[in-house]
């Protein structure tokens, strides 16, 4: 590919040539980087929206945003974080790492890969274009409950841009899912049986299966919304036999598996980082793989725990509560295996491990509030309050984001050839941890005190003020953390210590290539005999394959 484009590219001025190279690339590494850059840009945008929301709630009866803007901001904040930050950053990192981990030279379908990225980006731009139209962005919440999305209640085109943006980016996500499944199942290097795959690759395989099962139902549901709006169909229009309740089922059938799409890759990253920085093999590898599969399948059948307050019926409530509680078993297995991996290890608290420990300690708390919410009677009390907001931010930031930061700090040297500054990384970690606890901890309390989510202001006599102020201060504490992260990236790109091939003395194949890896990844296709090929290479006297 590169040899074809080079002569043309050389005639262009430097920057256009560079831009052209990136625009036409089908290299999984470049596409991975573009996914991550896209996600970070949207992270900044959605983060600013969150700061504005928090500022509005700092004092009772604030007029900073006003009700319309407030509704638009929380809608776009949620939508952006899930679709244009969470999934792209995970798919991007996996795009870069998975082919390297399995000893392949690229993804199975490089052009489909590029298509997936550009379509995802286009979907994000489409959704954000709604800021520039009359009526502005949609004010429907990220789960867009019917009949609020019907034409009668939302006459502006904001909802249409939102619907089409998600539909289009969903197609990109499905393309990525197809590509990962084909890549992981067919392009593993000789010797790498399924049970010898690096664990991150395992989680990406199951994440992709979940993408294939969960995103198409959303696509179908979005089509119905758009048919309702543009063609006058009646799907979610209760006045014409349609059903708003049906939308909730369809949306959450996607929406709940979606949170596992967002957390499983983070589980995978943690499972790479913890062994390397504990100097031990991953404990209970087979159980970890089986637990991942169990999470995927169980989580396909728990969606209506988001709907306890709709008034389904007792049997359904009981089923969905029990099924939701069931998910905690495989997740618990994972937790104990991570702890067992660390137990007795020579633990080094370098930045990736620091974030991994942050993940372990925070995610378990989010899991516990999840168990509380899975119990229908408790959920009746706190549904649609800030308790729920606190819970899912706890798992998505305490889980996914800490996991992603662990992964980024772990793999940055491989991608750029330079080490990140440990000093800046530690400041980033502690500011994030403190800011995060301060932001989302008080939300549990304001929720228990009865503060509903999505209200743009509140009266002073509700005793909610102090908790909201703590949340807002926490949100402000997080800002320098993200700034330090971006500064660290740019600083390290220029002044970071050269990393070498294998700065962490790690064991999987991505560390067997130069940093950054050449376009073709591996000079010779590796052959492996155990889960830790680099250990085997470094310790020929005591290789792993004797014991596995």
């Amino acid at each position: 590919m590169a040899t074809v484009t080079q002569p043309a590219a050389l005639e262009r001025p430097f920057w256009t040539a560079r831009l052209h190279e990136w625009a036409v690339t089908v290299d999984h590494k470049r596409i991975g980087i573009m996914y991550v850059v896209m996600a970070v840009v949207f992270l900044v945008i959605a983060g600013l929206e969150a700061e504005a929301i928090r500022w509005q709630l700092f004092v009772p009866e604030n007029t900073f945003l006003g009700p319309d803007r407030f509704n638009q901001f929380f809608t776009m904040h949620g939508t952006t974080m899930v679709f244009f930050v969470g999934m792209p950053i995970l798919i991007g990192i996996a795009n870069y790492i998975v082919p390297l981990q399995i000893g392949a030279r690229d993804m199975a379908f490089p052009r489909l890969n590029a298509f997936g990225f550009w379509v995802t980006l286009f979907g994000g731009l489409l959704a954000y274009f709604s800021f520039f139209i009359p009526g502005g962005p949609p004010a429907i919440g990220w789960f867009a409950y019917a009949p609020l999305t019907e034409r009668a209640f939302n006459r502006g085109a904001g909802v249409d841009f939102w619907t089409l943006g998600l539909l289009v980016s969903g197609i990109g996500t499905i393309a990525a899912g197809v590509n990962f499944v084909a890549t992981i199942l067919t392009l593993r290097c000789p010797g790498m049986t399924l049970t010898k795959m690096p664990f991150f690759t395992w989680t990406m395989l199951w994440t992709s299966v979940q993408i294939l099962l969960a995103i198409p139902p959303l696509t179908a549901a979005l089509v119905m919304v758009e048919f309702d709006r543009a063609l006058g169909a009646k799907f979610f229009n209760p006045q014409n036999d349609g059903s708003a309740y049906m939308w909730q089922h369809l949306f959450w059938f996607f929406g709940h598996p979606e949170v596992y799409i967002l957390i499983l890759p983070a589980f995978g990253m943690i499972s790479e980082v913890i062994p390397v920085f504990s100097r031990k093999v991953l404990f209970g590898y087979e159980f970890m793989a089986a637990a991942t599969m169990a999470i995927v399948f169980i989580s396909m059948g728990v969606w209506a725990h988001h709907m306890f307050c709709v008034g389904m019926n007792r049997t359904l409530d009981m089923y969905f509560a029990a099924a939701s509680l069931l998910v905690s078993i495989p997740t618990g297995i994972k937790f104990f295996n991570w702890l067992a991996t660390m137990y007795g290890g020579r633990i080094s608290l370098a930045s990736p491990m620091l974030f991994a420990c942050g993940f372990l300690s925070m995610f378990v708390l989010g899991g516990l509030t999840g168990i509380m919410l899975a119990c229908a009677p408790f959920d009746f009390q706190v549904s649609d309050t800030y308790f729920v907001v606190g819970h899912f931010h706890w798992v998505l930031i305490g889980g996914t984001l800490f996991g992603v930061f662990a992964g980024i700090h772990y793999w940055f040297p491989k991608v750029t050839g330079r080490m990140l500054s440990e000093r800046l990384a530690k400041w980033q970690f502690w500011l994030l941890l403190i800011g995060f606890i301060l932001t989302f901890g008080p939300m549990h309390i304001s929720g228990l005190l009865g503060m509903p989510r999505r209200i743009y202001t509140y009266l002073p006599d509700r005793r909610w003020q102090i908790w909201n102020q703590l949340s807002t201060i926490g949100a402000l504490v997080q800002v320098p953390s993200y700034l330090l992260f971006v500064i660290n990236i740019f600083w390290s790109l220029k002044y970071g210590q050269p990393a070498g091939d294998d700065p962490w003395d790690a064991w999987t194949l991505e560390w067997a290539t130069p940093s950054p890896p050449p376009t073709y990844n591996f000079e010779a296709v590796p052959t492996i005999r155990s889960r830790r090929p680099l250990w085997d290479a470094k310790h020929p006297d005591d290789p792993d394959w004797k014991y596995e």
Binding site: R105, D106, L213, F235, M246
Partner: protein, 215 residues
């Protein structure tokens, strides 16, 4: 792409994507061919997509049957059965075409593959005629009532898949006609036939649900 067609053997699958031969395997082992695994993964996502549309149809069935006009008033089985017979038999003809391809019988392949296209097109024509009748005679449109909404969405998405299938089938047919079908395109023809079988399978469910149960 065209230069690839001059290369022989299984290496061709990898060569098109710039992958070395040792990373790809003979197309005969389907679980080692990324084209085949990729198609199966894609079909899995299609199952999820159609399941959603079908489930929606089932959930709204009570309202659908009571619609004005209702399914019982507007459906005429002879036309639908003709289309159904065409589509289902096209699964057999594409299977025969594939068999002819594997044994290297060019005329047999072109004949059966071409017949598949004709049968698929006939199915689409039947759907077109039916829709024309529904819209012009009975005034049933997607916005008329919930029946119209669910019916046109479900049957329409199936027809869209048939249309995409016809484009794919015709592409392979033209390549074979011009003797430009490479080894790699053989795998393509095979996975397209899988897609076609899938579209047929969906129709069996849609037909049973919409025209038999849903009347």
């Amino acid at each position: 792409m065209m230069s690839d067609s001059t290369m022989a053997g299984s290496t061709i699958i990898g060569a098109a994507n710039g992958l070395p031969a040792e990373l790809t395997s003979p197309a005969s082992d389907w679980w080692r061919s990324h084209a085949k695994v990729g198609m199966l993964a894609f079909l899995l996502s299609e199952v999820a997509f159609f399941s959603t549309l079908i489930t929606t149809y089932v959930v709204f069935l009570r309202q659908t049957k009571a619609g004005n006009p209702s399914p019982a008033e507007v459906f005429h089985l002879p036309l639908v059965l003709t289309g159904t017979a065409c589509l289902l038999s096209s699964s057999i003809t594409i299977h025969l075409a594939e068999k002819a391809m594997r044994t290297g019988k060019r005329a047999g392949f072109l004949g059966w593959w071409g017949l598949t296209i004709v049968l698929g097109a006939t199915f689409l024509a039947c759907t077109g005629k039916e829709w024309h009748e529904l819209i012009c005679t009975y005034g049933l449109t997607i916005s008329r009532n919930l029946f119209g909404s669910t019916y046109f969405t479900l049957v329409g998405f199936h027809a869209l898949h048939v249309t995409v299938g016809l484009v794919l089938l015709s592409t392979i047919f033209l390549l074979a006609w011009r003797r430009a079908l490479s080894e790699q395109d053989h795998t393509a023809a095979e996975v397209i036939s899988w897609y076609w079988h899938f579209v047929d399978g969906v129709w069996i469910v849609v037909f049973t649900l919409v025209y038999l149960i849903g009347r």
